[in-house]
């Protein structure tokens, strides 16, 4: 009996080891196949309808209790894209949004659902708007990241000031800038800027590349614009490195910053309105 037990346990252990490790919620997963919208409808009714509504208009039974409000799929405006602002996201973008969820909202990570289920949900979400007949935009190019140094962090800090990011996100990135209380989304619902100090990850991912992409594509349906026409790639990477220092995480950038700051704090000009 004991031999049987040990054999069974060893077999199961080997099976687990042989299985690919589960992806972390921060990693992008790639769908393998185009989803089946008909199958997705069934899954949508099970998982999504309470918030997004049967018609996909973001008016599910819980919508009135949720802030920010659930996405209205009929308008086909999506926050997290790899494509330029104003264009439709790729299937991968939608798949990753479902898989990752949205931090600081009621949209959870649906990572445990099978890959097929998530692919089917992507296919069904695309049935709510005629815009999808035009197809998605072309993903933007993300150039190689520049090295994170004190210089790049300081340049990013200058960009944060120059591009007036602080007006919404606040001088310390707490989402409490002078314009924060006035912001509305595309449905005229109040919306809060992202608080870098409270979030464990960004709205659209957790990597530096994800953050770069947010600058360059914007967050459609929100006041967060695309800076693709205003920022050079190097400037964007510098801004990425600075914003990493605002998070409550031990990122490489934060480590650099924390080592440098105590002896140089007096050299910094405060972020905010300039006299």
């Amino acid at each position: 009996m004991r031999l049987t037990i040990l054999t069974a346990a060893a077999g199961l252990g080997a099976l687990i080891l042989a299985t690919s490790p589960a992806p972390t919620s921060g990693q992008a997963m790639q769908p393998h196949h185009a989803g089946n919208a008909a199958a997705g409808k069934k899954e949508y009714r099970r998982y999504c309808v309470g918030c997004h509504g049967k018609a996909g208009d973001g008016m599910g039974e819980n919508a009135m209790w949720i802030e920010p409000r659930p996405r209205d799929f009929t308008s086909a405006a999506f926050k997290c894209r790899s494509t330029p602002t104003g264009t439709l996201p790729t299937d991968n973008d939608l798949y990753n949004s479902i898989t990752r969820g949205f931090v600081a909202t009621n949209m959870p990570s649906w990572l445990p659902l099978s890959q097929t289920t998530r692919e089917d949900l992507v296919a069904y979400v695309k049935t709510f708007s005629g815009r999808w007949q035009a197809g998605p935009g072309t993903p933007i190019a993300v150039p190689a990241e520049t090295p994170a140094t004190i210089e790049s962090i300081l340049k990013g800090r200058e960009t944060f000031q120059k591009m007036e990011c602080w007006k919404c996100h606040g001088p310390a990135g707490h989402g409490d800038g002078p314009s924060a209380s006035t912001l509305l989304d595309s449905k005229d619902n109040p919306i809060r800027p992202y608080n870098f100090a409270a979030g464990s990850r960004f709205k659209c991912g957790s990597t530096n590349e994800d953050l770069y992409r947010i600058f360059m594509t914007g967050v459609d349906g929100t006041p967060m614009p695309s800076f693709a026409d205003n920022l050079q790639p190097e400037d964007a990477w510098n801004l990425v490195h600075f914003l990493r220092t605002l998070q409550p995480l031990q990122t490489p950038e934060a480590t650099l910053w924390q080592a440098w700051l105590p002896s140089h704090a007096s050299e910094l000009t405060p972020i905010g309105p300039q006299e």
Partner: protein, 498 residues
């Protein structure tokens, strides 16, 4: 002075649902006088030999039945709309059909009732929000049992088929579960049973993501074992079909106070992958089978499981797992001096080990869910009234067909087969049990604020020489150990929570 094990008593435990209520009736049907009449004589010498233990263990089979019924008393179930309210998700997001969890609900539970959206701490909730839900089940039910000994009016006994039926209510579960802070969750589940008072079904605090790792979660308190096939989240509620026989069966003559479906008191280390496809649990538990109070001895029980899920594409997510439980119980005790000696708590000695080990699966073929389970159990002879270890095997297959998220058809077939009797003179099949259940659960209300299920169940059982495990309101075993006792349960219920 020592006393050998045998007259262990257990605190009556409140029970919540139909099957549990039936357990009460079984206990009532075995009045204290029966137990007193069969109580072992106290030993004055130590340690005991097997013969003495056997004498001590002249535990009437009815006594065993009562014991078994008590272990079934924990059969309550969970579906917690407080979470749905907190996160504005429909029942179907976390449940295949409540109360059973789906893969998303399993991950939510594994994360300490957190979605991981940085809004899990109660500080983010409206001040009016409280993590509170109630579940109860008004019902009509019928219980029928064959071969029940009754008074023949002439001083003798005769065996008859007894049928009882009528309207009934289950107890109520007050489900309080949630987060105290980010990565600190809790559960508190008092149960109410009309006429039975209040009990504590669960009370625990769990520290989640220790060292920022999903593999390190520590739970301390009273809780359901992390059984992959959760009895608390079972689909069936009827007297014969509700409990898992595999989790509660004890061999004839076996007095081990343990049920795998009973909530236990202890500490549990649980780990899982990000998507909860890989899971393990290791727990150290008190040796009281979940009954509050310090144990008679100084031993602890161990429980562990390991499971792995696989993404099978359009078929769904499949899972397989192994589990094992090792328990230790003292068999002799120091006693106070005098004519009415009492056991001295914590002085138990001569520990003996019992075990349960099994494998379980959870497979989906589209809308059809198939849950097989096999288990081997062994209780040492010192914990029985016989001369050999009690050993048995059990297995079940449970089927759920999800017509849609609001209608599920259920079936379970379960068999228990004795492989070694404690009394070699008994027939090999003494105690064997067959149980079959058919049912449906229809959810006309399945919102994020409340749920209502209309339940219908029909269950059949057959036990050889013993009373039905789940109790049927009568619970007296037949005089002839070769007699096959047949039980039938019919349940029509409104299972609701809010």
């Amino acid at each position: 002075m020592h006393r050998s094990l045998g007259d262990r008593t257990r605190s009556p435990w409140p029970r919540s649902l139909g099957a549990a209520g039936l357990g009460v009736l079984v206990v009532l049907a075995v009045p204290p006088t029966v137990a007193a009449a069969t109580a072992p004589a106290r030993r004055t010498t130590a340690p005991p030999d097997v013969t003495e233990l056997a004498a001590d263990y002249v535990r009437a089979r009815t006594g065993n039945a009562a014991e078994r019924a008590l272990t079934l008393g924990m059969h309550t179930a969970k579906a917690i709309p407080a979470f749905a309210r907190k996160y504005s998700l429909p029942c179907s997001a976390c449940h295949t059909a409540w109360p059973e969890l789906n893969v998303f609900g399993q991950r939510f539970k594994d994360q300490g009732y957190q979605l991981g959206n940085d809004r899990d701490s109660p500080i983010w909730q409206n001040p009016a929000y409280i993590p509170f839900a109630v579940r109860t089940t008004p019902q009509w039910r019928m219980e029928r049992t064959t071969d029940q000994p009754v008074d023949d009016g002439a001083g003798g006994t005769v065996e008859k088929t007894l049928t009882v039926s009528g309207f009934d209510i289950s107890g109520a579960d007050l489900l309080m579960m949630g987060t105290l802070y980010k990565d600190i969750s809790f559960g508190f589940v008092p149960t109410l049973e009309d006429g039975e008072g209040v009990g504590i079904e669960a009370a625990f605090v769990r520290f989640d993501n220790l060292f920022k790792s999903p593999w390190a979660n520590l739970k301390v308190g009273k809780f359901e074992l992390d059984n992959m096939l959760s009895e608390k989240r079972g689909m069936n509620l009827s007297g014969e079909g509700g409990p898992y026989q595999s989790y509660h069966f004890l061999a004839p003559g076996d007095a081990t106070d343990f049920g795998l479906g009973d909530n236990q008191i202890g500490a549990e280390w649980q780990g899982h992958s990000d998507n909860s496809y890989t899971r393990f649990t290791a727990a150290v538990l008190g040796s009281t089978d979940g009954v509050p109070g310090l144990p008679a001895g100084k031993s602890y029980d161990l429980y562990g499981n390991l499971s792995q899920a696989f993404d099978a594409g359009r078929l769904g997510v499949q899972r397989i797992g192994l589990y094992g439980y090792l328990g230790r119980r003292p068999t002799t005790f120091l006693q106070t001096p005098g004519v009415s000696p009492e056991d001295i708590p914590g002085t138990g000695s001569d520990y003996k080990t019992f075990s349960r080990i099994g494998a379980v699966g959870d497979f989906f073929l589209g809308n059809l869910e198939i849950i097989p389970l096999v288990q081997h159990a062994q209780d040492p002879v010192e914990l029985t009234s016989g001369t050999k270890d009690a050993e048995w095997n059990s297995g079940l297959v449970e089927l759920h067909y999800y017509v849609n998220p609001q209608l599920v058809l259920t079936h379970r077939s379960e068999l228990v087969r004795m492989s070694q009797q404690v009394d070699p003179a008994e027939a090999n099949n003494y105690g064997d049990t067959d149980a079959f259940t058919f049912g449906y659960r229809w959810y006309p209300i399945m919102l994020s604020r409340a749920g209502l299920a209309v339940v219908g169940e029909l269950s059949f059982t057959k036990t050889i020489g013993t009373v039905l495990l789940s109790g049927n309101g009568v619970g007296i075993e037949p005089a002839d150990h070769a007699t096959a006792v047949h039980g039938t349960s019919v349940l029509l219920a409104l299972d609701f929570d809010f």
